[in-house]
Amino acid sequence: MLATPLLSLAIWVPILAGFAVLATGADRNAPLARMLALLGAVAGLLVTIPLYTGFDLNTPAMQFVELHSWIPRFNVNYHLGVDGISVLFVLLNSFITVTVILAGWQVIDSRVAQYNAGFLIMSGLLNGIFSSLDGVLFYVFFEASLIPLYLIIGIWGGSNRVYAAFKFFLFTLMGSLLFLIALLYLFIESGGSFSILDWHKLPLGLTAQTWLFLAFLVAFAVKVPMWPVHTWLPDAHVEAPTGGSIVLAAIALKLGAYGFLRFSLPIAPDASHELSGLVIALSLIAIIYIGFVALVQEDMKKLVAYSSIAHMGFVTLGFFMFSALGVEGALVQMISHGFVSGAMFFAIGVMYDRAHSRQIADYGGVVNSMPKFAAFFMLFAMANAGLPATSGFVGEFMVILAAVDYNFWVAFAAATTMIVGAAYTLWMYKRVVFGAVANHHVAELTDINGREFLIFVLFAAGALGMGLYPQPFTEVMHSSVNELLRHVALSKIQ
C-alpha cells in the first residue's frame, strides 16, 4: 500500500473544497467562492497527476489500492483502486472539472457558491465511482452523483428544467434499482462478499449470468444512453446550464460504459457472449438511427446530444466485439468524446450566453462577428465528425477496423457515421457560422474573451494531442484490456 492515499485525495479534495465553497455563503462572497472553487478544482487535478506518472504499465492488477473496513457486519469495505481501464477517467474527470468551474465564471451570478460546490462535490463522487472496488461503495457513489447533477439541472437550468430533471432522475433511478438487486444477489452468491474483484472470479450458471447481465444492461444502458432508453438525454442537455451539459456529456455518460467493463463483461462473460448480438444491434441502431435524428434537429444542444448518443454507440459496439482493438478503441472514443462533446457544449454555451438562443435558425454568419470563436468551433466540429489528427478520429478508426475483422457488414453499418456524422455537424456549422450576418443579434456578438479562449485551448490541447499522438493514452490500457479479454474468453459455467 502506498504512503499517500492518492485516490482518496482525488475523491475528497474536491468534495471538501466543495464544502468550503458552500461555507462562503450564498452570493455575499461570489468572487471568493469562484476563486476557492477554482483552487479546489486545480488542486483536485494536481493530486491525480501522480496516478498517471506513477502508473505501472506492466501489470493488469489494481494500483494505488486502499482497503479499510467500513461496515464490518456486512463485509463492506472502503476499497479503492484503479487499473488501466479506470485511471484515465479519473484524470479526465478532474480535468473537466477545471474547465467547468471556468465555464461558469462570469455566467452564473445567482447562488454562485452552491453552483460551484455542486460541481466540486460531483467531481469527487465521480472519481469515487471510477475507483471503487467495493460493490456498496460503488453504488453509494453511483447514486450520490445523481443528486448534484439533478440539482444543477433543476436549479440553474432552462425553462423546462423541472420536467427534464425529473425525467433524468427517474430514468436513471429505474436502472439503478435493478442494479442494486443484482449487487445483493452477487453478495449472497459469493458467500458474503461485496468485493467486485471477488465477483469477477465467481462461477455462475448461464441463467444466473443472463439475469445479472440483463439487470446490468438496463442500469448501464440508461446511463450510456443506448437506444431506446436515450430520450432523457436530449431533454436533460437542453435544460442544463453549460457546465451541467459538459459534465453530463464528458463524464456522466461514461459511467454506463465503464459499468459494462467493470461489471457485465467480467462477472457474466458467458452471458456477454450470448447476448453480444443484442448489444451490437442496439449500438448500430444508436449509430444510424440517432445519426439521422441528429440531422434534422433545430436546437444545437439537441443536435450535439443526439450526436453524443451516436458516438456512445461506437463505445458499446467496440466493447462487445471482444477484441483489443475494439475495446481500446471504445475507451479512446470515451475519452475523446469527453474533450470533443465538452467543447461542443461549451461552444454552444458561448453563443447562448450572448444571444440567448440555441436555435440554429436564429444564427447565421457568426464568423463575421466572432472569427476566433469560429476557428475553435470549426476544430471541434471537425473532431466531432471524426477528422484525422483530432481525437474523434482515433476511436472511430479503431472501432471500425475492429468491426471489419468481426463482421464486414457490422463495420459497413458503423462506418456510415463517416457520412452522416459529417453531414449533421457540418450542416449545423454552415447554417450557424458561415454565411452573411443573418440578423442584428449576430452582428452584435462579441468575440470570445480571455477566459473562454483559455477553456477552448484546454479542450483543443486534449483533442489535438490525443489525435496526433494517442499512444500515451492507449499504452496505459494495454495490460488491463488484455487481461480483461483473457478473462472474458474463459467460461464461468461449471
Partner: protein, 691 residues
Amino acid sequence: MEMQKLYLLVPLAPLFGAIIAGLLCRVIPRWVAHTVTIAGVAIAFIASYVIFKDVLAGNTFNGPVYRWLTSGDYHFEVGFLIDPLTVTMMLVVTFVSLMVHIYTIGYMQDDPGYNRFFSYISLFTFSMLMLVMSNNFMQLFFGWEAVGLVSYLLIGFWYTRPTAIFANMKAFLVNRVGDFGFILGIGLILSHFGTLDYAAVFAKASALAATTIPLFGEGSAVALMTAVCILLFIGAMGKSAQVPLHVWLPDSMEGPTPISALIHAATMVTAGIFMVARMSPLFELSDTALSFVIVIGAITALFMGFLGVIQNDIKRVVAYSTLSQLGYMTVALGASAYSVAIFHLMTHAFFKALLFLAAGSVIIGMHHDQDIRNMGGLRKYMPITWITSLVGSLALIGTPFFAGFYSKDSIIEAVALSHIPGSGFAYFAVMASVFVTALYSFRMYFLVFHGEERFGKAAAHGDHHASHATSHAKDEHHDDDTHHDEAHGEEHHGLAPGQKPHETPWVVTLPLILLAIPSAIIGFMTIEPMLFGDFFKGAIFVDSEAHPVMKELAHHFHGAFAMATHALTTAVFWLALSGVVTAWYLYMKRPDIPVAIKARFGALYTLLDNKYYFDRFNEVVFAGGARLLGRGLWKGGDAGVIDGMIVNGAVRLVSWFATLARFFQTGHIYHYAFTMIIGVFVLMTLWVTRA
C-alpha cells in the same frame, strides 16, 4: 541519418509557415505571411529536389518516424516511404505549390483574408506531402482526409457566399462517401494482412491472391483482392472525382482560383490516381477490380468532356476538362499502365495548373468577370497570359512534342493494347474524348483571346451586338439553374463600358511562364525514363505475364522524337486537329451554328446543361431522403413511440394506479376498519385452505 532529417523537413517547413501565418494572421503584416509560407514551400521544394537526386542515386528509404498507436497485435506508425514514385509526387506538389504561392500575392492582393489564405495553402501542402510520403495506410488516410479538410476550408474561403458554403459542404460530404469505402478497404487489409504497413502488405499480397471472403453469405465468396481494391478505389473515386462521385468538383470552383489550380487540378484530385498506382501490387491481383477501374475512368473521361463544351464560366470549362483528364488517368490505371497514369498526372499538373492560373489572370484582367461570352480579343491586352494559355491548351489537347501529347498518346496506346474486360469501351471513350477535349479547349481559347471584343458591353445591355442570341439562350439556362446563377451574380463585376482589360503584374505572369516551360517540354524529356526505363522499378509493380501492356508499349517505342513525328500520321492527331478546326469554325466563323444546334437538339442540351441530373438526383434522393428519414425517426420513433407510448405511457399507468389507490384513502375511519376486516378475512381464508 542526414537524409532522414531532410525527409522530415519537407512536410514540416510548409506546416511551420502555415502555423505562423494561421495563428498570427491578425497580428502579422501581409509580407510576413507570404514570406514565411513561400519560404517554407521553397525549402520543401529544394529539399525534394535533393531527395530526388539521392533517390536517382539509388537511395530509397522506408521507416517510421514515431509510433502513433499500438493496440492488441497491431502497430500503427507515422513513417515515410521515399522511392521514385514518392519523389515524383513531392516534386510536382512542391513545385506547383510554390508557383501558386507566388501567384497568390497578386491574385489575393485586395482580399481581407490574405494571411488566412496563405496559411491554408501551406497547410494543404503539408497535408498532401504527408499523403504522398506515407509508408502505411493509416497515414495515407490521415493525409487523405486532411487535404479534404483544407479543400473544404478553401472552397468556402469566401464564407459569406451562399454558393461557396454550399459547395464546400457538398465537397466534404461527397468525399466522405468515398472515404467510407476507403476505410472499409483499409479495415479488410488490417483484418487479413495483420498490418497497415505498405511493404508488409505487398509482401503478403501474392500469398493471399486466392483468398476469398464470404461477403454476401457463405454461398457466394468474393475474392479478397477484388473486395479490397474496389473499396480502396471507391475512396479514389471520391478524391479524384470519378463518376458518380464527381459532383463536387465543378462546384469547388467557388473557391479562389489559385486553389482551383493547386488543389482541384494539379495535386489533391490526383491523390486517388497516386494511391491506385501505389497499390499496384494489390490491383494487379484482381482483373475484376481493374475492369471496374477502367470502365469508371472511361465514363468519366468521355461524359465529363461533353459538359465542358457547353460551359460559359471560364473556370468551369477548365474544371470539366480536369474531370475528363482524371478519367484518362484512371483508364490508364485500369489498363495496368500505372507509370503512364503517373506520367499523365505529372504533365497534367503542369499544364492544368497553368490553364487555371491563366484563367485566373484573365479573371483579374476582366475585373472578376468569368463569363467567356463577355471576353474576346484579349490577346492584344494580355499577351503573356495569351501565349501561356495557348501553350497550356496545346499541351492539353495532345499536340505532338508538347507534354500532354506524350502522356495522353501513351494512355491511348496502352488502352488499345489492353485486354482487360471493358478496355474496348475505354478505347472508344478515350478516342472520342480527344476530339471533345480539342473542341472545348479551343472553343474557350478562341472565345477568350480571339474574335470580337465583347467586354465592357454586358453591363450596358448591349441588345444590338452579335452574340445577342447566345446570351439570350444563356439567360434561359440561368432560369432553371438558380444555383449557378447565384454564383454568377456574386462574381459579376466585369469591366465598365469603355474600360479595357490589362495584363496582370509579374507575380502572376511569372508563375505562368515557369509553368509553361514544363508544359511544353517535360514530356519529351522524361517519357523514356518514366515509362520505359527502370525509374519506377520497385515502386510500381506490373504483372507482365497477365497484363503485358507496358512491355508491348515498350516494343512500339523508338524514342520521344520518333513518337511525335509518327503521331502526325495517326487518327489521334487528326481527331485533335479536327476538334480545333471545328471550334474555330463554330465559334469564330459561324457562331450561328452552335445556336442552331442548341435549338435543334433541345433535349440533349437540357440534359447536358443539367449535368445529366446527378445533382438533382442527389439533392432529392440522398439529401431529401436523409432529412425525411431523420424527421420520421425523430417525430415517429423518439417522440411518438418511445416518449409518447412507453415513457409517458408508464407515467399514465402509474397515475391510473394512483387514482385507483385514492379510493382506499378516503379519510373515513370506518372505510379503513372495513378494509382491514376484509384483509384479515382473506388472510385467514388463505391460511385455512393451506392447512
